[in-house]
Symmetry: C2
Amino acid sequence: MTVSHRARNAETFHALDFAQRAADLEAQGHHVVKLSIGEPDFGAPPAVLAAGRDALDGRPLPYTPPLGLPELRSALSDFYRDRHGVQVPAERIAITMGASAALLLATAATTDPGDEVILADPSYPCNRELVQSFGGTVVALPTTAATRYQLDADMVERAWGDRTTSVMIASPSNPTGTSIPFDELAAICELARSRGGWRIVDEIYLELSDASPAHTVLEVDPDAIVTGSFSKYFGMTGWRLGWAVLPPQLVGPVERLAMNYFLSASNPTQQAALACFTPETLEVCERRRRELGARRRLVLEGLARIGLPVPVVPDGAFYVYIDVSGTGLGAWQFCEQALDVAHVALTPGRDFGPTTGETHVRLSYAASRGELNEGLSRLGHFLASRRG
Amino acid sequence: MTVSHRARNAETFHALDFAQRAADLEAQGHHVVKLSIGEPDFGAPPAVLAAGRDALDGRPLPYTPPLGLPELRSALSDFYRDRHGVQVPAERIAITMGASAALLLATAATTDPGDEVILADPSYPCNRELVQSFGGTVVALPTTAATRYQLDADMVERAWGDRTTSVMIASPSNPTGTSIPFDELAAICELARSRGGWRIVDEIYLELSDASPAHTVLEVDPDAIVTGSFSKYFGMTGWRLGWAVLPPQLVGPVERLAMNYFLSASNPTQQAALACFTPETLEVCERRRRELGARRRLVLEGLARIGLPVPVVPDGAFYVYIDVSGTGLGAWQFCEQALDVAHVALTPGRDFGPTTGETHVRLSYAASRGELNEGLSRLGHFLASRRG
Ligand SMILES: Cc1ncc(COP(=O)(O)O)c(C=O)c1O
Ligand SMILES: Cc1ncc(COP(=O)(O)O)c(C=O)c1O
């Protein structure tokens, strides 16, 4: 019995290891400040919880159509129109089990063995595994603070080869919280399109941008593949619901893959998610977005105070990507000591690619202000004691 | 932009087409008897609904660990011990978004490009797409009523080649509702193991067998990969929760794939599913199993009366696989006319493979007795009018 190459080579998330070590410390009675995992502490808005409970009243909950409940696809279509001013017919929206499944379907539908897919290093780790799982080759382009750790059109043009079929972008990005400048995003998409390549743009953090409304790539590239999620802005990480906006020629292929891989996304969760798009719920979510902005300011000030530089100030999501090379510790060591000594859980850059893997750590500021202040103070003492 | 080969070649479920056409007829004001989709009409047991509502009380619902909530993995381990007398450590159980995701992960973890996977024709269509999606080659062996449309060890031995890496079996099977004789299953697994091949055994319908408890393959092959689901026995199709039992060497690889592909299964649904394993809920489910047995008898008698032979009497699940070749109609035509003329929705054999694709249709008897009687009577009139 041989384990497949893809499974043998698949990488674990070090974020989870550190979260596990944090849980172990807590089990020993320590209080750990957990800033390693990308989950808002808000939870789903009240109306979503209520709608979720209502859906469990005994009504039939069969498989939904493979691309989702028509009402939810329509609600998303309306949301794109109302908030972003773009026309996305409901028929082009696929409801999926998280943006995760949307990215899986997008990759499966566009990647043949040997195809090359361009993405940024650092970036969200799952995309690399997905591309490789379907036989593609990842072309991870090293980025720096100069481009906000994002691709730019020049880089993409230089890297584009005969076998390149897609470029994958996340904006705002995980682990950096930085968006790609909109004209640069447009230029990359235009370039990829002119070469006959797919543009897979992960906008899971779009609604958690400083700009509100932020610009969706669909404004300039209506045929981009866009992924979104109820996880972050709507506070529904554990519910597993997301979506993909598809260009017309992908709707049928993705529908066929979705039915064979998944049958459908969760019916009661889709019903609950319908409550996301009321004015009340959107107001709750906007308040949370502003709260995350305040937390970011708190964290940036605190990090400056204790001498931990954030090379690029984020403009969305809930991450800061810290350069720890000035501390004399490698990123991994830094995370280990921050956890063991200061009881603060962070994520080493290694999860996001080699370019910044040994120098940077990710801090998720989706925790309460109290926890953030405590974490900063602990990190400050830890650094002072190292210096002193 | 090129759609991937896997997506272009992926097949649709004709079951869904017929379900859609049935919905269209209903929208026109007709009453359609829907026997095309494999979903019990019972829904989740009351205690599961209540636990699901409780989980939505505002408590945190973060991503769960990639292989699921420890409590649920333990509850399943206990269930295997109590009902089936097999020891399956909780650490070897992966909670997934339906058996669908379990099958996807199992295939991804065991199939490299060029590997051959043996399965039966007819069988559950998704497995073929999964194998092909990960670069494998499907070796679909034609089966007949003589082996209850299941593989036997001789067939598998003859088909086993240098590149064969797995055999996939579903018992009881979709579309036939037939189980593989247990000694034959043991013999196939023994053969595959002796050749260094994986045994992927889909037991999603195991608890809906006439025998109670039915025999799980784990009794004779503790290192088989077994998939299961909350969809059928527990009436939770639309909730999307299932599991895989993994041999020790696959736990780490599947965990790494699961985190990259899915992050986790639904947190509130996993909490709700904990209520599946109480004596009350199991008693509800056993009553339903017996009710499905009564429905099967009703359907078999009715089909005999109207002259539609069921070549192999099922012993589980909720399907009968009908040979319609005596009617003078091909299976596709039969389904079209049954729907258009008699307003009964069935599924043509084509979904399940070419061997029986043009001669057989699947009837799902997971509908109420009233609907089943009505459906049989309509089919009877339809056939009588054709003869007359
Ligand atoms: C950039 C990015 N994309 C996709 C996802 C997947 O999220 P989900 O599957 O919960 O929608 C995440 C989760 O952290 C992410 O950071
Ligand atoms: C044989 C078989 N396996 C797996 C599945 C997938 O079920 P689920 O993903 O709902 O658990 C089905 C659904 O009909 C099935 O018939």
